[in-house]
């Protein structure tokens, strides 16, 4: 072998170094995601029994697990539908709420640092255990907006019902009013879930070039026009990011995941659990693809 052949070009060397940097992740990806995914499909097509020694036995059963999940399991269908439904209700609310708050926080006012600190608190307290008990605290200790709103909507809400009646009489569609009532009832969840989204939107707002605002001001645009013609299009690419993040996050905390978990670790019905996870993830991925496709066709890219 000649010396010339052995010597790598600078570009090749850089390629190798770069790949070495990525290598740990790549191994992990193949090991945990690649292998894991194949395993998941194998498990879902067979009957899995854990052995005491640590191994497991697989017995091929075809599509039985899928049949079980869809046709025989008492709650899976409903949980899946209701989880997806809740997600679809929450996503637009979270997006609009976080954009709104980001715009508020982006303007200058006294106590802004304090307010930001408060708004980022949910990210910090984003824990399953804590959140469950905070929800309990909401119901138990006479406080919280959710308690008030649910009460208002059901029993003592003279004013609320009057308002709702008025809205119906004004010709507001019943679906919309229902949605608003629902939104108010979920406001706690929404605020809790929109921490990261607010951060992303704030960062986006700060990257909008100031010259655009100057131009629109000189051209005599009102604040309303400026928002819809400048701010919104400039921020719109990040709406996609946020929608994706929100859906995935909502899904991770949804009941379907919980049900799959319980199926595995309380009922020890392993393969059905994997099947359920696969089905729900598949549904969510399709949903993601569709939504992202729809939104990104409307997104404005500056460059």
């Amino acid at each position: 072998m000649t010396k010339k052949k052995r010597k790598l070009s600078l570009l090749d060397k850089r390629a190798i170094t770069g790949f070495l940097f990525v290598l740990p992740w790549f191994i992990g990806f193949l090991w945990f995601y690649g292998k894991g995914f194949i395993q998941a499909i194998r498990f879902s097509l067979s009957n899995l029994t854990m052995q005491e020694t640590g191994g497991y036995l697989l017995e091929f059963v075809g599509l039985d697990n899928f049949k079980y999940a869809f046709l025989r399991d008492a709650t899976f269908n409903q949980t899946l539908v209701s989880s997806i439904g809740n997600m679809l209700i929450d996503v637009p609310l979270i997006i609009f709420f976080s954009l709104f708050i980001a715009i508020l926080l982006n303007s200058k006012f006294h106590g802004r640092t304090l307010m930001r600190a408060v708004l980022f608190l949910p990210i910090i307290m984003n824990s399953g255990a804590i959140q469950a008990s905070i929800e309990l605290a909401q119901q138990a200790v006479n406080g919280g907006v959710t308690a008030v709103s649910s009460e208002a909507a059901v029993s003592s809400g003279v004013n609320v019902e009057y308002l709702l009646d008025m809205m119906t009489e004004l010709g507001v569609p019943a679906m919309l009013t229902d949605y608003i009532v629902l939104a108010v009832g979920r406001i706690f969840d929404i605020v809790q879930a929109s921490g990261i989204q607010i951060i992303i939107f704030i960062a986006a707002l700060q990257s909008v070039p100031g010259a655009l605002y100057e131009v629109s001001k000189i051209e005599g645009a009102t604040a309303y026009e400026t928002f819809w013609r400048v701010t919104f299009p400039m921020v719109s690419p990040l709406i996609v990011t946020n929608v994706v993040y929100t859906i995935v996050d909502a899904f991770m905390n949804s009941e379907v995941v919980q049900e799959a978990y319980d199926m595995a670790f309380t009922n020890f019905n392993w393969s059905v659990s994997v099947t359920m996870s696969l089905i729900s993830s598949f549904v969510v991925c399709i949903l993601l693809a569709v939504i992202v496709k729809i939104i990104s066709s409307k997104v404005f890219y500056y460059n």
Binding site: W25, F29, Q39, L119, Q192
Partner: protein, 348 residues
Amino acid sequence: MKTAAITNSSGNTAAVPASGRAAKNGQKAAAFSFSSVDKVQMKKFGRRIQAILLGLLKFCILVGIAYIILGPLISMLSSSFFTEKDLYNPVVILFPVEGTLQNYADTYRVMQYPQTLLTTVLYVASLTFIQVIVCSMAGYGFARFDFPFKNVLFACVILTIVLPTDTLMLPWYTEFRNFDILGILHLTTGHGVNLLTSPVPMYIMTLFACGLRSGLFIYIFNQFFRGLPKEIEEAAFVDGAGALYTYFRIMLINAMPSVLTVSIFSMVWQYNDTFYARLFGISNRLLMSMRISTVQETISNSKKILDSSVTQLYLYAGIIMMLVPVIVIYCLLQKKFVEGVERSGIVG
């Protein structure tokens, strides 16, 4: 303009078309002196009222949102001091009449707070350290080097962010239940090692950048490194620095804002994580987040309290104690954290 037009039709007697512009200006001035003094003032006044009202609206909204976030915290904090009597006294809201620190004392003992905190902090800190190193390396690799299939691989990173982890929950479980490295252990001892109930699986996964939201961190680092000027690296290269040296001594130092952001996120999520901890069955004694989930039962068993709303008071005390370290760290780093997040290129 309207007022000017009106005065034009009524008050002006000698309009000369030749010097139209000057005349117009004159009319305007006349109109202002004639009737608009209060109007200007009115306008100013109106604007001020508008500003005040808008400010008030903003204030109300912000206070409302702050209440939604802080409300449960405050009610938790206050009720963690309640005695049983306070709990069932309908007059008591927020401020206990009797008040007690017994809840805290008992929960402190049950949770074995100091030991648990110590092990949790060690666990979280080490994982965060590994995560920052591994994810920043991967992010750097993706941002600054060209190698075949780079885009495909980066798409895989995005996939790991988007793919819900629960799909792979069981494969991971079986993997670590019967752990083996490429069949070596099977050859030598005949069976794999059961790594569950120890934190080892978490370390292994984090080491290979598949830990808690590692994909997101790789993405953040990638965005940040792409934003750094190439010249620093080139200078280092010309001066003869190797890739690792450049990375550790130059790039990572420059990436401090995103390092800070990622470590805070990683720390907090790791500290609060129950998903992985439950999946790998990590012992309750080790982790605060797991410990907190059993506090209520332990208290009700050991003290023979059947009323769940009373045992809940202990749970609140436990949660407050669990939150204290995080909130202290957060308050210390709050400003840097917010700045770091905003500059760290979480945005694409």
